[in-house]
């Protein structure tokens, strides 16, 4: 199980060709109180970098981009019911969707934890 990060502050946790996607603690903190999310339905095809989900705080709306190409297997209905999970547990219960990767080698270009932490230092 590996976890990678994007410059747009998504995380993707990968096991074989199955992956789970969410937003980072940094992202939820910057957004503030999350009040609405929209997650993709199973079966939806995603291109790497395409808008895949929506997250809205009291302050603003943002899109969640697909860190890799593939097909959605499940959207997290728990965060639709209780959007505050995105704030309270962004890399756990607050995941957005699961997907089957089309091309796992796309992940090679993403940051590992150390690189992402270093990236945050530069912001």
């Amino acid at each position: 199980m590996t976890i990678k990060f994007t410059k747009d502050h998504e995380w993707i946790r990968v096991s074989g060709d199955e992956a789970t996607v969410g937003i980072t603690d940094h992202a939820q903190n910057a957004l503030g109180d999350v009040v609405f999310v929209e997650v993709p339905e199973g079966g939806k095809a995603l291109e790497q970098g395409a808008a895949a989900a929506v997250v809205e705080s009291v302050k603003a709306a943002s899109e969640v981009y697909a860190p890799a190409s593939g097909t959605v297997t499940e959207g997290n209905q728990a965060i639709v019911e209780d959007p505050s999970l995105v704030n309270s547990d962004p890399v756990g219960e607050g995941w957005f969707f699961k997907m089957r990767l089309a091309n796992p080698s796309e992940l090679d270009a993403l940051m590992d934890k150390a690189a992402y932490d270093a990236y945050l230092e530069t912001l």
Binding site: G32, V35, F36, E38, V54, E56, S57, V58, K59, A61
Partner: protein, 371 residues
């Protein structure tokens, strides 16, 4: 709500905001707290449950003095200033020759020869120039960029205030008085921008932090940033200048005809009176309304509003999530044929038509002090 102008100004509470952990953003040329560590949602709810302290020192405080100041100001605003009793406060508008709104403001009648005005931060330079040009023989005294103005809002505001100024507890809504607060001279009005009972406190910039610290020491009071200020005023159905009101919207379109008395509507005598009188008689093409989405997705400013048949009928001017409402809400302008409450409309969010309905405002009941 933040603008991109580089902030050059700091309110007298700037150091206190930093000490309290405020997240600072540029707003109307000032470096202002958008939220504190409590966060927008909890700050909003705290204000509705107890009391919130807001720094509104960026707003412009102006004193007008001179003979006939009452009649003279009426040449610039459609509000009835002659009918305003001494010590009372009224909401009114500066209009232009087309009937458009230059700014919205609060006017306090101090005496027959003195008025006190609070105008929007982003408009204050233009407002002052407008008054200097339009009020001959009147001294237009801007109290300065470093003057303090605090707002204490919420159901516990009166209890807290009475610990320092006992007379404040029974002040009528929309009245003003001078007092001393912990030994500091202040001007207090019973007014605000949240829909709750509360006060605004004008104070010399040198003492603003001392007043703020006294209030923050009270158990009921928490500091509240611009984020919650915006969601609170939207739930209360109150307009934000530059968004819900501007030079292209008239008081009639903006559903602010209640700010004009029968005498002012009939007599006119303010900029744009001919346009406004014609609109009052013949109606307007569009109106400001409240809109409640059926679902949970917020519709933000600039969202297109469509009729259920897909025709574009208007635009959202303020929209977001109401923490007390516990759902999304917005206000905007729609073609008059669609402005009746109960009318179904669609909000175009991310390419999708989200069903919504025109509703009366406020979204959350106002709880002003009525004695």
């Amino acid at each position: 709500m933040a603008d991109t102008t580089a902030p050059t100004l700091k309110t007298p509470l700037h150091a206190l905001h930093l000490e309290l952990g405020g997240k600072m953003v540029p707003f109307a040329g000032y470096d202002m707290p958008v939220q504190y560590p409590m966060g927008v949602l909890k700050e909003h709810l705290h204000t509705r449950e107890k009391a919130g302290l807001f720094d509104v020192s960026h707003m412009g405080q102006v004193r007008l003095t001179g003979p006939d100041v009452i009649a003279k100001l009426e040449r610039l605003v459609p509000g009835d200033i002659q009918a305003l009793a001494p010590g009372r406060v009224r909401y009114t508008l500066f209009t232009n020759d087309q009937g458009g709104i230059l700014d919205d403001l609060m006017v306090t009648r101090i005496s027959d020869t003195e008025l006190f005005l609070v105008v929007n931060a982003a408009c204050k330079r233009e407002d002052i120039a407008h008054m200097k040009a339009g009020l001959p023989g009147i001294e237009v005294e801007y109290l300065g960029d470093d003057r303090g103005l605090l707002a204490l809002q919420g159901p516990a505001a009166a209890t807290v205030m009475a610990r320092y100024v006992p007379e404040a507890a029974t002040m009528p809504f929309m009245s003003a008085m001078t007092a001393t607060f912990g030994g500091i001279p202040v001007g207090i009005s019973r007014s605000g921008y949240t829909g709750e009972d509360g006060y605004e406190i004008g104070v010399d910039g040198r003492y603003a932090e001392a007043v703020a610290r006294l209030l923050l020491n009270e158990a009921e009071v928490a500091p509240i940033g611009l984020g919650a200020r915006d969601s609170l005023r939207l739930e209360a159905g109150l307009c934000l200048y530059g968004h819900d009101l501007d030079t292209t919207t008239t008081p009639v379109e903006a559903a602010l005809t209640w700010t004009m008395s029968k005498r002012r509507r009939e007599e006119g005598g303010f900029p744009g009176a001919a346009v406004i009188q014609r609109q009052l008689k013949e109606g307007v093409a569009r109106k400001r309304v409240g809109i409640l989405p059926d679902g949970r997705a917020p519709a933000r400013e600039d969202t297109e509003i469509q009729a259920t048949d897909g025709t574009a009928i208007g635009t959202v001017t303020s929209g977001g999530f109401g923490p007390t409402l516990n759902g999304p809400m917005c206000m905007g302008y729609v073609a008059t044929a669609h402005a009746e409450k109960g009318t179904g409309v669609n909000l175009m969010v991310r390419g999708k038509a989200l069903p919504a309905g025109v509703v009366p405002m406020p979204f959350v009941p106002q709880r002003y002090y009525r004695g």
